[in-house]
Structure formats: C-alpha cells, structure tokens
C-alpha cells in the first residue's frame, strides 16, 4: 500500500428548494425575523462609482420565467478591487463602503429580479490579461441541484469585452452575447437588463469555476 492522500471530499450540493426565501431572504417568505437583513442593495451613499440597476429574469427550458429563483452577485468596486484579502492588485483602493455582494429573489408575481449597485472596474486576470468589467452571478432554485455560476458583462464596454480572456474562451461566438447586458439610459439611473436562460435557445453560458 502506498501512503494515503488524506484530503476530505466536498459536501454534496442539494437544491435550495421552493422555500429558500425563509433562510436567505425571510422578508420575501412573508415574515420579519432578523434585525439585519441581507439585501439586493449593494451601494450606499458613500460608495464610489456609477450607480446602476441590474434587472432581469431567469427563464426555464419551456420559456417560463422562474418565480422562485434566488440570485447572488459578487463584484469588484469601481476601481476593480475586490473587498477581500486575496485581492493584492496594486491598482485601485478598497472601498470601505462597498462589500460587493448582494442577494435577492425573483419576484413571485413579475418574476423579475433587481440589484442596485455600482459599475465595477477592470480586474486583472490570469497571466496579466485584464478582465472586462463584470459581475459574478450564482443562481439557485427548486429544480437546480447545484448552484449555477455565470458572469454579466456590460454592452457599453465593447473594447474591453472584445479582449476579455473569459469571453474569448467561449468557443461559439454567438454564445458570448448571452453574458452581455444591454444598457438602458431612459431613466434616472442606468438599467442593465440581464436575462438568464437556463436551457434551450439562447442558453446562458454557465461556468464550472
């Protein structure tokens, strides 16, 4: 017998189920229990950067939007820095008024989700290649056995998107656009619309990260 490798094994994922709201966003389940709730608002009045809204739906393989999905986002600040000790980029500063994380559910009636945040900056990627501004998404719901990871990019960042090392990894060029959110400047705050298609025509690119 050779020596044993004593790594542990990752715990198996299970669906978040239809009642995920109770645990993660109890107000949407219909009751108030915690003094401090985690929400879909990432930026306060002191946060640096351009205010934006992200809105969209999560759509299943029959074209039906999910009314019970939970989404979390994780992003860099306006300088492209993540508020985390492992981000050792020299450029830019940590923003004490921006954690960079939020969560929300799709609405039980409209099926729309919404985040209020700021537009992130460029983040340094592997081997010196800058990544275009992007927001990391994680989606769970009843019927989703293991959380789905994807990224949202910004349609008004054409040059950065064209050079982005992750978008360029997507072999079928037509699928890259599934990660690019269009910008709507018709209201007081720009709105990026980002629908996530779980299956079928226009299926969003999901990552094994």
């Amino acid at each position: 017998m050779v020596q044993s490798l004593d790594y542990l094994k990752e715990t198996a994922s299970q669906t978040a189920g239809p009642y995920v709201h109770i645990g993660l966003i109890p107000n949407q389940a219909g009751f108030d229990i915690f003094e401090n709730n985690f929400t879909n608002v990432l930026a306060d009045e002191n946060t640096r950067g351009e205010r934006i809204i992200i809105e969209g739906r999560v759509i299943d393989g029959t074209g039906t939007p999910l009314r019970d999905a939970l989404l979390e986002i994780w992003q860099a600040n306006a300088d492209g820095r993540y508020n985390h000790e492992l981000d050792r980029q020299n450029s830019g500063k940590i923003d004490e008024d921006f954690r960079g994380w939020g969560r929300t559910g799709t609405d039980f009636d409209t099926a729309v989700y919404r985040f209020e945040t700021i537009k992130p900056g460029l983040v340094s990627g592997r081997n010196g290649k800058d990544m275009a501004p992007h927001i990391n998404f994680w989606i769970v719901a009843r019927g989703i056995n293991i959380g789905l990871n994807t990224r949202m990019y910004f349609a008004d960042e054409q040059d950065a998107n064209a050079a982005d090392p992750v978008l360029n990894l997507i072999e079928q060029k037509t699928r890259r656009k599934t990660l690019i959110a269009d910008r709507d400047d018709s209201g007081p705050i720009p709105v990026y619309r980002f629908d996530i298609i779980l299956q079928g025509d226009g299926e969003t690119v999901f990552f094994d990260i």
Partner: protein, 237 residues
C-alpha cells in the same frame, strides 16, 4: 489561491429526471471550465456585528408566547475544506419546516399547521476553528409533488458562503435513521452513496444537554485551495 477543481462525480448533475423539476431547469450545454481568477477565489466577508444574539436559536428567535412544539435539538459541527483545515468566520445559514413538516412561507399550503412560535430560520458565523452551532426543533417530513406519493425525509437546509465565491454551497442535512432518506429522489440525484451518507447527521449524545436537548453533529466540507508555491499567475504583474 485558486481552488481544486470540483469533483463532479460526487455532485448531482443538473439534469436528473427522477427529480422532475430539474428537467426544465437544467442547462443542456456543458459548463465551461474556468481556471480561477480573482473573481472566483475572493468572496464576501461578514462580521459578527451583522448577526443578532438569537440568530442561532430557532427555539427563541421567533417565539411569541412560548416555545415551539417539537423535539428540542442542537445541531453543531465544523466547516472544513478539502485540506482538512477549518473555514473560520464564514456565514452559515439554515432553514427548515416545523415539527409538523410545515414551512412558514406564503407558498407552502400543506395542511399541517403553522407553529406560531417558530420562524424556521437562523444563521451563525463559524469561529476560528470552523465550529458553528444552533438550537432548534426537529423538523417533520412532508409530502411534495414529484410522484403523487413523494415524501421528503426530515431535513434542514444549509447555505455556506466559504472564503471564496467558488466555495458557495447549498445543501441539506438529514437525520440518522430516517427511513424516508432511501426513498427520496432529491437525495438520490447524488450519484455517490458515500456522498449521500455524508449528508446524514448522527445523533451525538456527548454533544447533548442532559435532560434538555439532544444533539446531532453535521460537518460540512468546502473546496480546498492549492498551496504549492509553483503557481500560474492569478493576476497581472
């Protein structure tokens, strides 16, 4: 540091027809494998000051005029990574049905009654050893629409943030000895019998409070990070 590649042989596939809802909600294209960048190896950080003193006491955190009905239990354990190292200061959240198998949720219409003294959710931060604990009542099994006669084993949902976004995990804890575990399609989307067994918490008499509350132990393992010094560069110059 970047994470070890996820071992998908221990994880459920997206498309699992025995769990019918997964059929229309699972991608048909392959997931695109990404080497870790800053976007995946970092993640949100939480502080104890964000939690309330009763957040990990489900017996008390929604009590209106008495204790909730049901078996009083403690659930405790450690959040570790694949390197067998504790994951400290990480957010663990949990939610569950009441003793009758009913959730406090506007979309749950099961005929078992709501317990006026039970909310059914809580949260904790792990300590420096990765340890967490909470007190609750044992949830009941309940029927659900998959086959016409499908019943969920008693379970508690867990959400763990980890120290990087790629560690994010949601799972369910089951109870030792529950005969419904072997019948449950949601359990059996997991393709590996040992991985299923790792979701079943044993009774832990040593962790119990005599004459008061019985304990179950539930450890959770998140992905580990590489530690060798010979790294691809995760970021630029």
């Amino acid at each position: 540091m970047e994470f070890y590649q996820r071992d998908r042989t221990l994880q459920p596939a997206g498309y699992t027809p025995i769990y019918k809802t997964s059929v229309a909600r699972s991608p048909r294209q392959s997931l695109l494998s990404l080497q870790g960048s800053l976007s995946e190896i970092t993640g949100p950080v939480f502080g104890q000051n964000e939690l309330g003193p009763l957040d990990n006491d489900l017996i008390r955190n929604y009590a209106k005029d008495g204790d909730p009905i049901g078996e009083r239990i403690i659930v405790h354990g450690r959040v570790l990574d694949e390197n067998n190292r504790p994951v400290p200061n990480t957010l663990v959240e949990f939610w569950q049905a009441n003793a009758g198998g009913r959730y406090r949720h506007k979309k749950d219409t099961y005929l078992a009654p709501i317990d006026p003294n039970f909310g059914g959710c809580g949260r904790a931060l792990t300590d420096e050893n990765g340890y967490y604990f909470f007190r609750t009542i044992k949830p009941g099994p309940y029927p659900w629409r998959n086959y016409v006669n499908s019943w969920r084993p008693a379970h508690i949902h867990f959400s763990v943030c980890g120290s990087g976004f790629a560690q994010r995990l949601i799972t369910q804890m089951y109870f030792e000895g529950d005969p419904l575990i072997k019948e449950c399609p949601i359990v059996h989307v997991i393709p590996d019998e040992d991985a299923i067994n790792r979701l079943i918490a044993p009774i832990d008499l040593k962790g119990s409070v005599p004459l008061d509350t019985i304990a179950y132990k539930f450890d959770i393992v998140l992905r580990g990070r590489r530690s060798t010094l010979f790294e691809n560069r995760l970021e630029g110059n």
